[in-house]
Symmetry: D2
């Protein structure tokens, strides 16, 4: 018997609101896949939330081509407890809101994924869209951001099902 | 019924032999986990090998902080067939042999993982050792390289079991 | 007496034309700064062009989140001659044409810069725009691509002047 | 008349002492090149130190394959003042102390360089050794760490001379 896949967590912080706007469509993609995801801001989340989750998605604004310092502190300080081990094997994912093309959004996104890999988490890319996770730029239309985030939420949920449940509600 | 997890593939090329020396211990780690992995050099591998595999591990020497150009050509040209899609959901992994600390081995390794993520593959980090995949440097001892590669081969196989088989031979 | 700063080189290859369209505005930015830059495609450029240049800008399309394999071969094979040393201290730069936001353009751009750094070249970021070099996405307007590339060409030329000439024609 | 190249700054923080041990040989390399560099820890450094410096070298321990969160906060919060602009054109550099090969040292180092590039700073790679900046691993010998750091300090100073002074004391 596999464990309950419903204990999923979205952690985020936002500077100007762009990263924050990505949370709802991602969460809706997860919900429409038949799962549930709790949303916590960087100031609300605690270690127990992270340890007990089967999957964690982290949203960070682009800050000089890297993750936000408060997100980094969460992993450097909070998630250092019991390292290595507590987050191993969980499903990871990341999303980011940035500025212009080439202004560091992918670098921030990949730095976030590297942190999750370092903790032993499982990441899936996406060949069709948002290869490494959703990115919203200043010039992106609201519609394209919404659909990219929603589709990625569903894509991410597929991996949760593969790893935690033999039979998905969809089948 | 899940598919046969035994169709696994290790692709590699080597410049001075360091990357080539990593193949055998990685393959042994996979075999000792109860799986089988076919080994092909960059000049032997064909697209059918890649498409039919459930998991692909790619070994590249460090070439100026990035993957070898023949490895890159394999993904730019050969794996472009039917893209996006054919490699989605397969288990991916990478290893690399480099020179001194800081001479580009991690950059090459991560560039390889980014390519696999771009194709939609599933990657797991390792919290305990070889976070992103095994790296052998010139100053590394043969013993440490062997054990790092072997342990990673077993770690990687665990993900193959999680994704492709409910009951592993170990349980 | 400092050397002639006019021997500058732009090397590029293009898949669907997007990277190729960036060449002209970058070259115009360099010319309007009082310098000259020769443009060569990946199939035209030879090692002598590279060794004799004081500065080299490389344009690559995004290929699975990394540089094009022919660009990689140029550095793995051609530029291996006499390595390390021949390209040390020259001014480097890179640009790339990609698809959607987050589809790998920054990763390709930075992989290119890492290759140039590995060869000992000098890179300057840009705090105001195109931090790591110009990126053109599918959804970017022609005007924004043109101005980003042109401005970056002028920015890049400033570093050429700083490194190669006490008095620029502008002063 | 070019400005005084002597106002150079080394900022660092250290976890277990490995990154801290790299400061002295780097500083000695700078001094033996005829320059001076002030050393400040992350808790001592202030924005005025950074703005008034002609060159800044940042040392960070490897923290989950990225820069330390306090280093990140320095750039996210302190260096945000007056951004973009205040650090543009200064000479940048980075070094890092990490654990095993492949445990994230290069990723941390390159993330640091990307932050400096984002601020418009000038970075030079090194074709001969420590391509992107010095890296010390747990298994590296004290002698190899010392010579790598010292040589890099001299290499870095060469760029300071090229950018800030026509005639170096060495010539």
């Amino acid at each position: 018997m596999k464990s309950d896949p419903c204990n999923l967590l979205i952690i985020y912080t936002t500077t100007n609101g762009r990263t924050g706007d990505m949370v709802q469509p991602i969460q809706k993609g997860v919900i429409d896949s038949g799962l549930k995801a709790t949303v916590k801001t960087i100031s609300e989340v605690c270690w127990e939330d992270m340890v007990s989750a089967n999957g964690i998605i982290v949203g960070t604004p682009v800050r000089f081509g890297d993750v936000d310092w408060e997100i980094k502190r969460l992993f450097d300080v909070t998630a250092l407890q019991g390292y290595p081990g507590p987050l191993s094997g969980k499903v990871g994912g990341a999303f980011t809101g940035g500025g212009k093309p080439g202004s560091g959004a992918e670098l921030a996104l990949l730095s976030m994924l590297h942190i999750l890999l370092n903790h032993g988490m499982v990441i899936q890319g996406n060949a069709h869209s948002a290869h490494y996770g959703p990115v919203a730029l200043a010039e992106s239309s609201k519609d394209s951001i919404y659909s990219t985030c929603y589709d990625w939420g569903r894509h991410w949920s597929d991996l949760v099902y593969r790893l935690y449940q033999s039979n998905s509600p969809k089948s």
